[in-house]
Symmetry: C2
Subunit: 340 residues, 2 copies
DNA sequence: CTGTTAGCGCCTTCAT
DNA sequence: ATGAAGGCGCTAACAG
């Protein structure tokens, strides 16, 4: 039993195969009577147009590719969630390419953006390097950066969050509470994946410190690969300092959890002995009562897709840069310092 | 600047179309010299075969579709992770269809499994109903169930976990500690999505109770939609009972977190006043020190894909049913009852 | 070994 | 309004 094709429908309906095609594609130039008859046969035969043939003929793939790193991390998942939900309402399929190694990052960045693989590419949290640009441009297909950036603002559409401001907000909150010994625990500022968030939040941290006249102390900044465990190690080290910080700003909620573990292990109460603030406001943050900086994860994915669909529809000629706000969420892990 | 096709390569290399195709497809019947020349031109022109055309010609889509519910839940994500990682090493693309409503469930279950959309379908955690079967069979493409089941064992390949045994293990652990008033908090046993895990774990719970001669008390079983919040409500109710349970088995770690919240709110210490055991062993469980039943989430996805690839390669004629083990992970939320 | 040709299933222009 | 025909880019079967 082989698949039913447009030819079968045409034959059974007693029309030419062009007419069937017109019915499928809602062409106005077909009489009501024939249309009805053809639709009947289509239902009868349970016919569906073969997507592959359609794509080849039209010259579009009807798929949007998403390149995402570490799609197990809650914040990326939430962005993907927004992408998936929004794209599901369209005619486009979703192809996810998960990146967990640098080789894979480069390979995806160079191979995926091709007209014959996808109609558009959304790059999640992976900021292109200069050497990636040629591949992205040669591709000649729309590219939307979500939570990723590149100095060459002119050519790329993007949905970003102002992480510098977010980092400032977090640090300022601690300063406002009276803290002056404030640690920052983050991913590697110079990651091989070229994540920019930790770097931007670091800038915000430094700015807030400067504005408050608090000198920056290098030993109050710990950086390591992303992860709860790594953050715990960094925090343990920092909390063992002769003059330990009274507050720690973690570059993500996941890392904040590592800091909480370290505090627990060191016999420090949170927030009485140590204030902790995270970043992202992932679901677990509320459970833990974690003070954090909320960013619009789901919405970033949603907006990215909406932008992409606009471009695909031919709207939106000029590149767009949409900046999402952050919001301080005060919960139970921050308090004025003990002595203050 | 239009895309470079096989014809361009042929022309520039001074050979026929077929020869280029043979080179691309590693056909042995092409002389080393021509092969070299063609490969050179291919590199020169930065040529890649158009996947769509290839698919149409070969009659395969080279994609595997995955239907998954609620792909934000940690346990599903971890399964998807295994799927993605394993599939990435193959020639197949991954198409993810996320299901969050019943209509979507039905639509996916009926539309996706078609030869022209995918070469194979992996259905995650969504057990087909009898009325779904016709669609799955008519499809005439391989289907692999991961964490999903159906009585008609004969025709479907699947990777499942013995949730009845897992439920027994969890309950038995509490019984062994001396508990006799044991609650079970779960999803709706009869969910519109037809999830089977809560139901199977419930069976295991009942079996363990029976075996220990503990009568089942209906008020010790609470069911509601899946979620931390919902589980908290159920637990609050259960803990307010005149004779409250001394231990609670939650159908997932996420729900166990809700129980922990309820205990906290009720002023009960865990595990001194209340023992709690979860299920899944998602990452957060370790952080919380939660006693739980571990299942092999990543591996289930991996095995599902391996099974699918075997079938796609023509191996594995007879349907396979692979049962994954569970393992009790004792951490800090279970202890003998206070009075015991 | 290699060039040529006939489809894969659909869309689209061109006549009618 | 509709049927016929050409082509999307590639593979595979057929000659040579």
């Amino acid at each position: 039993m082989t698949a039913v094709t447009i030819r079968d429908v045409a034959k059974k309906a007693g029309v030419g195969l062009g007419t069937v095609s017109r019915v499928i594609n809602d062409s106005p130039q077909v009489s009501a009577a024939t249309r009805r008859r053809v639709l009947e046969v289509i239902a009868d035969l349970n016919y569906t147009p073969n997507p592959t043939a359609r794509r080849l003929s039209i010259g579009k793939t009807f798929t949007v590719a998403v390149i995402t790193p570490f799609f197990t991390r809650p914040s990326f998942i939430e962005r993907l969630h927004g992408i998936e939900n929004t794209l599901a309402e369209s005619d486009y399929d979703l192809n996810i390419y998960n990146v967990e190694t640098v080789e894979c990052r480069d390979q995806c960045m160079h191979q995926i953006p091709r007209r014959d693989r996808a109609d558009g590419v959304i790059i999640l949290s992976l900021s292109p390097r200069d050497e990636d640009l040629p591949f992205l441009q040669r591709a000649e297909l729309p590219i939307v950066l979500v939570d990723a950036n590149h100095p060459s603002l002119s050519s790329l559409n993007r949905v970003i969050v102002d992480d510098v401001a977010g980092g400032r907000t977090a640090t300022q909150h601690l300063i406002d509470l009276g803290h002056r010994r404030i640690g920052y625990i983050s991913d590697l500022l110079d990651s091989p994946f070229n994540f920019t968030s930790s770097r931007d939040r670091y800038l915000g941290y430094r700015q807030a410190l400067d504005a408050a006249g608090i000198p920056f102390s290098p030993e109050y900044h710990g950086q390591k690969e992303h992860g709860r465990y790594e953050a715990r190690l960094l925090a343990e080290q920092m909390l063992a300092l002769p003059e330990r910080p009274t507050a720690v700003f973690a570059a993500s909620d996941t890392q904040a959890m590592g800091v909480l573990e370290a505090a627990r292990n060191a016999g420090l109460r949170v927030p009485e002995d140590l204030s902790v603030i995270g970043y992202d406001d992932i679901e677990i943050a509320e459970y833990l009562g974690l003070t954090t900086v909320r960013q619009l994860l789901y919405e970033s994915g949603q907006l990215g897709v909406e932008l992409m669909l606009d471009i695909l529809e031919g709207l939106n000629a000029a590149p767009v840069c949409q900046v999402l706000p952050t919001e301080l969420i005060v919960r139970g892990t921050t308090l004025p310092p003990a002595g203050g």
